[in-house]
Symmetry: C2
Subunit: 210 residues, 2 copies
Amino acid sequence: MTTKLTPEEIARANEKAAKKKAARDKMLATKTIEKGLLIVHTGKGKGKSTAAFGLAARAIGNDMKVGVVQYVKGKWETGERKVLEAFPEQIEIHTMGEGFTWETQDRERDIRAAEKAWEKSKEMIEASRGDNPAYDMVILDELNIVLRYDSLPLDEVIEFLKNKPEKLHVVVTGRNAKEELIEIADLVTEMTQIKHPFRSGVKAQVGIEF
Amino acid sequence: MTTKLTPEEIARANEKAAKKKAARDKMLATKTIEKGLLIVHTGKGKGKSTAAFGLAARAIGNDMKVGVVQYVKGKWETGERKVLEAFPEQIEIHTMGEGFTWETQDRERDIRAAEKAWEKSKEMIEASRGDNPAYDMVILDELNIVLRYDSLPLDEVIEFLKNKPEKLHVVVTGRNAKEELIEIADLVTEMTQIKHPFRSGVKAQVGIEF
């Protein structure tokens, strides 16, 4: 099943590739700042928390320490935990959420849960200042949801994250990320759902949905 | 900060949870098909391979077996490998790519590498038929790139993936997913870049970019 090419095609393709590489090398040479990033995964599609989980595992594999605060219970299931907990001295996960926000009409309870999770988040982020940081990456999973429902004072959260330790990577996930958060973020990715199996009657399955 | 609930709050929360569960169960009851999904992560944003890696780790955590073929070298770095290799009997990774497509200077070498990777992919997928499948999930990382550069015959790839083992989950990543692939996919997510640190002069960093 070989795709045959003429020598001219090969030469053209190679020349094009060489030009691209030169341009890319030149671009990369201008990127010299090293700092902790504020990363946001938002959008209605899948993969926001999964990609954050992937970042956590990659960081662990790079001997970094990772802290996780889950603002919504049940987003990272036993599957994730089992893998990450193979590296207990490199990861600390706190599940603070009281359940899906849309599952409860109890504002008081939501707000108390959000505040507790935010206190823990600030604690982990503050512990990452200086020469001996407690964490290299802190993931605030589904923080966007509680901000969206105004369960936390947005301005305080933004002000705090804006002043995070310089070397610390902070990852925020959840749909409907606030404009103010996107403003101060370094890297924002929107996950857009193009196709979902529920539409064709397929049920949630272990290893995929949970 | 206390999260002590009054009896009223507990009663209300329980009632809500029961209602929610009933509604969710009713919805899920209509989703009866259990099958392996063809999942595509595409778009120009980050997180395509990272989310696939997260799916692999989640699957491993759920005692599933995962096979990975990397069509582009260097997408899954030592970080990922170190974590996944803590579960050697559940994961098999083959790195077949010869380097980033835009970096290589040799079109024919790209095509040979793509063909080799595709042969390995077919082998792993075929080995997952029947009652004792070799894998529960096979990830074809960056397959979209070689399809985009016509390094493989699209119709053959589509035809083969359309006839994958029914229970097997196949995850395909890479920007510029072909329409024909999206057509036959069950779950398609597009990662869109809203903001990238390169724009503010930040360089690629361990644990984030690699």
